[in-house]
Amino acid sequence: MSADAKAETITINVDGVDREVPKGANLIDAIEQLGEEIPHYCYHPKLSVVGNCRMCLVELGMPMRDRATGEPVLDDDGVQKIGWMPKPGIACSTTVAPGMHIKTKSQVVKDCRNGVMEFLLLNHPLDCPICDQAGECRLQEFATDYGRGYSRYTEAKNVKPKRTRIGPRIMLDDERCILCSRCIRFSKEIANDDVLGFIDRGSYSTLTTYPGKQLENNYSLNTVDICPVGALTSTDFRFKMRVWFLKAVPSICTESSVGANTEVWSREGKIYRITPRRNDAVNDTWMTDSGRALYKQVEADNRLRAYQVDGKASSFDAAIAAAIAQMKQGKTAVVASARASLEEQFLLSQMVEATAAVRVDMVSHYGDGDHLLLSEDRTPNLRGALLTGLINDLPDARLDGLGKAIDAGEVDTLFVVHEDLAAAGLTDAQIAKVKVIYAGIEENSSSANAKVSFPLLTVFEKEGSFVNQNFRVQKFHNAIPAPRGVVYDLHLLETLRAHMVGESPTRPTVPAVWELMAQKITCLHGLDFRGLGDLGVGVDAGRFASLPFVESKNLKHDPEKRSKLGVEAGATA
């Protein structure tokens, strides 16, 4: 919420109590900010309003004014009379107005909710035991609040198609659908892929895709998130685990520099799904389908799982010793990564100092953006590398400069973080010429030729922060434990640095690294890790404004505004 929005509030009367709400807000959102809830199904803050579920009916009234004179109409006590509307109105299509009176707890409102609830449940199958939505289902929640507890409906329920595959990642169960049309509106308004719609009429209305089309855009799984019932389910998560066993940890999507806010759902150290987390400054309530599949890297076959020296598994201490011995021979070059967290990049820069590295390189990973939540830069933390001073210019896709340096014999040892040297353009001859110390998540050409290999952790196994396309620093948390025997990335970097300068290594924590960073990096003055909050903080990055970043305009990023970044960042902080 920006500062000026906070300033403008109006007073409305909720159930007899005057409350302050933001001006121009939707009534449901306004009430939600007061900590209460008006039950609703079809309304979604990021979608258009259709008002078809009728769950949010409330009694509305405005202070009465004489039509002719405009004078307030007073009752016997001299208090302005309230003109209650004769029929209950839906809160979702109502914008708050000064002096507005609403009743959310009156008998009429309760009757409305009970009635709508009963109607919704009439043709809803008793699928809860096999329904993936159970546990986070709005229908279940409101049924406990407003349901009757038994059914007066003795007729046969409607039969509609079940288990319909409407897209590569989406399964549709029409019987469960309550026709709220959120998915239709999302596909049309947000994903710009208008493939969903209703066929048939009345109680037989059926959600389906346009003939011959599928719901296969890269945002299709958001329909699963916004479906208030279990009509749309994710084939990836389907029947894998009940949600009440899962623990949600806030995290950041590493797919691209958008840095979508996510929640990682795990049970007993196994991740089952990733869902978006609302952040109006970054991703609203959406994320890409491809970003949701990233958890699979945790158990990927090509994961590097053990410390290796000369290709043989070894202990952490032995690997450190081997690496230090190699690096102390001098002429070390570092290939940093934009996939590492801000803290790791900072410690890497410290290590670069400690080793007196010959040069620091980085590899860019660019692809096509979709102008929504997938940006051209496919690394989550390129701007972090700029902030920490690891690099001063945007990286190239190939390590040609490094290759030349190797050819010229300026480099003996390569410390590589994450990157695949062969893929980044080094020839086999060049790689053979140097000793490689590799730290990364996966096995690749770098690890295959490495003298020492250090396994690193995925974003789910550690905590830290990323700097996104808008120079917004956002933190992620530890969702699952690290693989057995693997130390935290920060610990590894600190150990290497300390051994290089002959200190005894400490075990750095993320907040401790932040204390150091806040001192050394101007942009981060006055910030600490905890202060980032769940939604992150934008930092002033005016000095990088002239760099030719590759991101084009997308959902929350506008390159035109880049010059104003600093101002904007200040405002969003």
Binding site: V49, V50, G51, N52, C53, R54, M55, L57, P86, K87, P88, I90, S93, T94, D111, C112, N114, G115, V116, E118, F119, L120, L121, L122, N123, L126, C128, Q140, A143, G147, R148, G149, Y150, S151, R152, Y153, T154, E155, I178, L179, G197, F198, D200, R201, G202, S203, Y204, S205
Partner: protein, 455 residues
Amino acid sequence: MAIKEHRLIFKNIDVEGYTNDIACYEKNGGYADLKKAIGMKPEEICSEVMDSGVRGRGGAGFPAGMKWKFLDRKSGKPIYLVCNADESEPGTFKDRQIIHKDPHQLIEGMMIAAYAIQAKLAFIYIRGEFFEGARILERAIEEAREKGYLGDDILGSGYSCDILIHRGAGAYICGEETGLIESLEGKRPYPRIKPPYFPAALGLYQCPTIVNNVETLCDVKHVVNMGGKAFSEIGTPGNTGTRIWCVSGHVQKPGYYEFPCAALTLGELIYDVCGGLLPGRSLKAVIPGGSSSKVLRADERFTGKLKDGSEFDWGIEDIPMDFDSLMAAGSMSGSGGVIVMDDTTDMVEALANINSFYAHESCGQCTPCREGVQWMKKVTGRMSRGEARMEDVELLRSIAGQIEGRTICAFGEAASWPVQSFLAKFNDEFVAKAKQQAERNAGSEAPQALETTLI
């Protein structure tokens, strides 16, 4: 026939030798009023219509002049006029007669109205089942266009407006203003939520739009013809002009009859105009304004106060046929479809019939109507099949109560009012039926209430 019809709109209809081509229409003074209107300022026409007090003939009875006044003219967006010819209310068949037999009258009325509101384009949204009507209208429009009554530069006035015919796909809900607009836009006819989508401000393609009934638009022609003041003198104050009553059901001579408002009572309409009931039958109930209006029971007394303060005490035959009196009697004149039922009618069957119509026509957008109307149909269907349970009457009442006033459009009321009024007025009949059937089915495998528990 004691009371003489006063035919205004139907003046030429059914006259020997009158055809629906433009030559015949012009011969009978057609398009003179359009010429007159073109000579007037649009605001003048509007105020004439306002003065005439003509009320919408589609069902709600909202004054047409008022509706035009609400039009958002400042937005700078084009204004549209839409003629609602989606006549699908059971018991109503007046618009079809106008379209079939005097289409030019409608076109003339529409052009006057379009000129008055300065519409950019006018549409006739005609019910999908009216194949013939659409054909006739298309021909009529072609004829009128040739003569310069519509199209570019109408009658040399510099005002241009054309009429497009849009055939519906056959759904009752398309008769609802905003549903009609959605359908016209090419979407499913889901009625829009009001607020904010009042057609006068955000109508067709989010532009200011006026939607009027066929009969209303024809009335506009006559307002221009005789002047608003003269028009308002037909009928009583507040209930001006003539109305076409479409009488159906158990009368000797069903059909359409045009009378000035309040010119006759319901009794006179049934017994004098329509020749009374079949021999040996007695009147049981009347639905006075299409199936969605509330039923009137033959042996009840209607008492209360009129708007002007006078008290009344009517039997069913004494109710004057106009907007306000029928409203005062607890029903409405609606679209003018008078359905007469005699003592052979089983009210449960009648309600089951009405319910299955509404269940079939519910658009399914909002929950109470989608689920509730279907449920009511199933309950009354069960009752008419002989599988009623004792609690069904109360159940029906409860369902109807849960629908009324909680839906997006007026369909909810249209569907729940018949149920509520049937149950209120013929409660004994429903209870007796339920009891009889429940007793007969006791012990058998009839569906038991509370069989399923939720979760």
